[in-house]
């Protein structure tokens, strides 16, 4: 019962990022490291950052969970690598959802935004407030 909708939801590049995550693993002695989970579905995403002179020189993520949470994290690390911290601070949920490029149902929005939460809470020490994400 294949429909256009589900193929579009699980677009090829999302599945690709899920199966072949970019920047996956850990950094030795990272400048910043932070992990968040989503207890409802057991998704976990953590990120290690190496920051030099205000620029994210290197980044790795680790975790487990659904395709949306893991692909979202992989996509975000690609975007963050080499980015100035000041620019990274401006990334918001619209950017992350736009990058995924699919309609996310309310039930799955936390999966899609888990990696952004890691970035915000961990790297910027912002309050653990989902409204901020």
């Amino acid at each position: 019962m294949s429909t256009a909708a589900d193929d579009q939801f699980y677009r090829e590049y999302i599945l690709d990022h899920y199966k072949n995550p970019r920047n996956y693993g850990r950094l030795d002695n990272p400048d910043i490291t932070h992990e968040e989970d989503n207890p409802l579905c057991g998704d976990v995403v953590g990120m290690d950052f190496r920051v030099q002179e205000g620029v994210i020189e290197d980044i790795r993520f680790h975790g487990r969970g659904c395709a949306i949470s893991q692909a979202s994290a992989s996509l975000l690390t690609e975007r963050l690598k080499g980015m100035a911290l000041d620019d990274a601070k401006k990334i918001d949920k619209h950017d992350v959802l736009g990058e995924l490029g699919i309609q996310i149902s309310p039930a799955r929005i936390k999966c899609a935004l888990l990696s952004l939460k890691v970035l915000k809470v961990g790297a910027y020490g912002l309050a653990d407030d989902e409204d901020e994400v």
Partner: protein, 408 residues
């Protein structure tokens, strides 16, 4: 209407009573909440449109009707679970509130520092967290009965724990996450012999099989209306009268009193002592209609239907490569099947199934200690009820194969 004299449910006829199936959904999440037949929504609508008024207090006709229907549910429920008296049937919002009532009113008075509470790793959070809060407040300890590799409680370990004279034993009649049917009667008997007070969480029991609380022998039995064709907001706590009489109220205020004076208050008789404030009148009336509906089907026929479907689904899912089934064989489980697919997270499967209008649960099923014990973050779960047909199981199999195609 239903079991056409052969002891088998006439599912096609039953489905006509449930307008929601006209939407074309395959509904495989009845362990979460069931659907409601027209008879239930109709009884509620009748109240809201024709005799909406408060109970127990007004001196006019429609209030008499409301009171009569509201109290009428109590007798229907009493008969359903064979309690000795309607005084032992307390209305609560659901299983969660019923267990909280016991933890608060019975627990705070009777559980002392150093006392042992025995729970199980199969329990729903609603039968864990209230006891953790009680234990923290009163200095009690909690031990959890583990499961074996088939997802069945380790009775040997349970017997060992009973030797330590627990004050309270509380367990699920049926696991909501794995469908395991626990040997409740034997467990209650052993726990009572060890001197424990026993609560049985019947949220997944009462909707699916005949229950006789006197034969079961437990002190408390809790269940929810919304998992048995009734509305949300109406559930039941059964308690043995002697215990209920000795307990203090849970919530307090209007309707649960006899007299209130500045010097002090005397409480109402059972069961109203535990029903403070204006109740969920329409919902309780709806629950009565649900009990009538199940009575018309016959609980033996309900159980037989679910068993047949579970065997069918178990076999169909067993044939799928890369699919892991959790829990006991179909003969020892209720209409619940938990499973996982290699390389596909349950939430991704549920999203793909949703595209086919297949309603499937994915998550920890409010049983995080059990998920930890199984070593998985989440499972997918299909669950069945009186209206479930094999075609819906076939549609689930189609969605699983579609997910495997997308993720291959």
């Amino acid at each position: 209407m239903s079991s056409n004299g052969t002891g088998r449910l006439d599912v096609a006829a039953i489905r006509k009573d449930f307008p929601i199936f006209e939407t074309g959904i395959a509904y495989l999440d009845s362990a979460n909440t069931s659907q409601r037949p027209r008879q239930v929504t109709g009884a509620m609508l009748d109240y809201f449109e024709h005799f909406n008024s408060n109970i127990h207090r007004a001196a006019y006709h429609i209030a008499d009707v409301a009171t009569e229907r509201y109290e009428g549910t109590r007798e229907k429920v009493r008969a359903l679970i064979n309690a000795a008296s309607t005084k032992e049937i307390i209305y609560a919002r659901g299983t969660t509130e019923a267990i909280n009532l016991v933890a608060y009113s019975w627990g705070r008075k009777n559980v002392k520092a150093g006392d042992l509470i025995v729970l199980t790793i199969l329990d729903h959070h609603s039968n864990i967290v209230p006891w953790q809060i009680l234990a923290a407040a009163n200095g009690a300890r909690i031990e959890y009965v583990d499961i074996d590799d088939r997802g069945e409680l380790r009775q040997d370990q349970f017997r060992e724990l009973l030797k330590r004279s627990p004050k309270l034993v509380a367990f699920s009649q049926v696991s909501n996450a794995l469908g395991t049917i626990n040997p409740a009667q034997e467990m209650v008997k052993a726990a009572k012999a060890a001197g424990a007070t026993v609560l049985v969480d019947g949220a997944q029991g009462a909707p699916h099989q005949g229950v006789d609380v006197q034969a079961l022998g437990c002190d408390f039995y809790a269940f929810s209306g919304h998992k048995m064709l009734g509305p949300t907001g109406a559930g039941i706590l059964y308690g043995r009268r002697e215990l209920l009489e000795a307990m203090d109220p849970f919530q307090s205020g209007g309707d649960m009193i006899k007299t209130v004076r500045i010097e002090g208050t005397t409480y109402h008789d059972l069961p109203w002592k535990f029903e403070a404030g204006t109740q969920a009148i329409g919902e309780v009336i709806g629950l009565g209609a649900a009990v009538d509906y199940l009575g018309g089907l016959g609980m033996d026929a309900v159980r037989a239907h679910e068993r047949e479907l579970t065997e069918y689904a178990y076999e169909a899912l067993s044939d799928i490569e890369g699919l892991t089934l959790y829990g006991p064989p179909p003969s020892r489980r209720a209409g619940v099947i938990s499973f996982a697919l290699a390389g596909i997270h349950p939430h991704d499967l549920a999203t793909i199934a949703d595209r086919d209008q297949v309603c499937l649960r994915a998550g920890h099923h409010c049983a995080m200690p059990l998920m930890t014990r199984l070593g998985v973050p989440a499972t997918a779960r299909a669950s069945f009820y009186v209206y479930t047909q094999k075609d819906e199981v076939d549609r689930l199999v189609g969605s699983i194969k579609e997910a495997q195609r997308i993720f291959k």
